[in-house]
Symmetry: C2
Subunit: 400 residues, 2 copies
């Protein structure tokens, strides 16, 4: 099947605030094959920049727009998608944003191929089983330890078996205050739930600031400390891992190549590798990282903070790994992220979720619900139209 | 001094080809302070994408456009520029292209500050001396060993003491053919010149393909083998380094954070770290990497393939390091890259170049010569103008 068109849909809330909530906008990708087959994907984040990386004029042979490696190419088999990833990597070597743009296109190609072959993507990846995952609720630290405690209790009441707290003032406040929040979170959760703490890169590459927080995390039995440092600060990760004991380090959401994520395992000594398929270059590279995690006794976890389309995409790479249970789940996404899909992945009474068994990603985009959120982009270069947002209405095919 | 404006100028050749020549377009940045001071910088590469990362609507609190961290901020001292780098890193954490956009702005801020304080940037970085460097001529492998030999001889006749060959078919051809080219290059250079070989990431992460080429490189006394692998494939670098003997590995041009470049030293075992200040986040991060190189007995080398403004910017970080002699020099840039500056850095009869001693970067942009190359960009979102190329004519200041 030849790739006939790749279209981008930029959707956002009417107002995008400064909160650390990645569900406020979305860049959806629709690919259409020459037989009329359709697949959808999502890029994370900065829609205008990612659109530009698709349509920009080339700078030279290895700084070409992503479009140059995709349009008119053929996809009949999973290996064709891996081949296109190689091609984009080569032709867009010097275009930094290309990885994020390509991620959404790659995901859409898997969806397209799965629908065409009538198989869920995880089967195309070689998995035999679709194991249930334990989603964690991701929340901001409260303003006071008491409010953190109440949030933890509330998440448990909703059925979550794992809860993540982070951002807010965590890491910048007094060490004692941080410890109080962590203890309060554990108290609110009770003994049986997994407690996860997210530092959001707050300590840069300063290992000492992280080390000070470890005793409180150990005392509370935290499962992981996430992103203590900058995405590339592997040495700091490794130094902290030496003293973090049973508190495993987690990271990887910033990885935009499979090697970058594997480096965090090989050189950063993380115990949990968190991969966002909408950033790392799609589902194929995510699967490569999952295999590397298995080989190194590291737990693979999806990173997802947007829609259930993105959630399904990020789950595909590890649904076949029974022992890799924990799963990020966008708990309270903004309406744009919720409304954009017809189906949603729901938590069952056992506090578990499963990736769809339907063909492709098993999540249909709601083209009607999406309309009010769409933003129109127009780019002109030297007065010539280089890009214009497409119509969300599916293309009608003359002669079919 | 408050940063009043940041303007981008996208210049390109009338036709941009697929050759691996990064001098075919340029994205210049002009910053203007509230006292009318002006500084210039350059981003590398993909002008439209980098402009978009400056003006894009925000996606959330840590996916803001680069503009959000710059406009209206104050720069009076080098530490202010380092502070802004931290701010961009935080506010644009999830915007991949931000590093490339910020690079050009950061360079322009150093130029602005140097001109204001009447000091060359290298003095502001703490260097006492501006040591001469030995530029190498960078050329494509010939179609035949004989033509490679002739190119080498030609570069020597022009006075170059070091020559780099790469791309073309190198690395994909037969191992014997590759060896013939390397031997021919050495023959053309004679015994005294440095021979450098650039593989342009051709072997991905396949160490065996690189290992096969090492004997020929050793026999020819090559100083370095550059970019054998993907930018993030540190493990492959380290494995190859174990068997490359006196042929040092070189890499780093793809680094878009200081940690990424330092990782290539710490985990990739390179002996030459090549930093493009127009990609890594500017001159400040380049200097941080240079200090790390010195601590680890690794040689710092600039990566520059565009204009002499970019060349001056990339030299600043290591002009004070006497033992780090070798320097990339754009030998035959396209006319846009040459014409855009009034001054050029010329090689003397000893085959050496020096960074300017004049304030700032010491390279003035030729606003008149630049005009014919300028491309007009217009971006609209929901019908509202989000970006429009500025006029190259310097802003006139009412009341001054």
């Amino acid at each position: 099947m030849r790739i006939d068109s790749v279209e981008f849909f930029y959707a956002s809330m009417p107002e995008v605030t400064l909160e650390a909530d990645g569900s406020q906008d979305a860049l959806l990708v629709r690919v259409v094959g020459d037989d009329g087959s359709v697949g959808w994907g999502e890029c994370e984040a900065s829609p205008l920049t990612s659109i530009s990386a698709f349509v920009t004029p080339r700078s030279h042979g290895v700084c070409q727009p992503v479009s140059a490696s995709v349009l008119g190419e053929t996809v009949n088999d999973p290996k064709d998608i891996f081949g296109l990833s190689q091609l984009v990597g080569r032709n867009s070597m010097d275009l930094l944003q290309a990885a994020h743009t390509w991620s959404g296109v790659e995901i859409a190609l898997w969806d397209l191929l799965g629908r065409k072959l009538e198989e869920p993507v995880w089967k195309l990846l070689g998995y035999k089983n679709n194991f249930a995952k334990v989603p964690y609720a991701s929340m901001l630290m409260g303003d006071t330890p008491q409010s953190t405690l109440e949030r933890a209790r509330d998440a448990r009441a909703k059925g979550f078996r794992a809860v993540k707290f982070g951002w807010g003032n965590y890491g910048t406040a007094d060490v004692g205050d941080d410890a109080d929040h962590v203890a309060a979170a554990r108290e609110g959760l009770g003994k049986d739930a997994d407690l996860l703490i997210d530092a959001g890169q707050i300590w840069g590459d300063n290992v000492a600031l992280a080390v000070e927080r470890i005793p409180a995390l150990q005392k509370a039995g935290a499962t992981w400390l996430e992103e203590p440092f900058f995405a590339h600060a592997f040495k700091a990760y490794a130094d902290l891992a030496k003293v973090s004991g049973k508190v495993g380090l987690a990271g990887g959401e910033g990885a935009h190549t499979e090697h970058m994520a594997m480096n965090l395992i090989d050189f950063g000594a993380v115990k949990f590798i968190q991969v966002d398929s909408a950033r790392i270059g799609g589902i194929g590279p995510s699967k490569v990282v999952a295999e590397h995690a298995v080989r190194n006794d590291v737990t693979f976890v999806n990173h997802t903070f947007t829609s259930h389309l993105a959630l399904s995409a990020s789950m595909q790479a590890f649904v076949g790994l029974e022992d890799h249970k924990i799963c990020e789940f966008p708990l309270e996404p903004k309406s744009v992220a919720w409304d954009l899909s017809v189906e949603h992945i729901a938590m069952n009474s056992a506090g578990e979720i499963k990736a769809p068994d339907a063909p492709g990603l098993g999540i249909q985009v709601d083209e009607v619900a999406l309309r009010p959120y769409l933003r129109e982009v127009e780019i002109k270069i030297d007065g010539q139209l280089a890009y214009e947002s497409p119509s969300i209405v599916a293309p009608t095919r003359v002669g079919h």
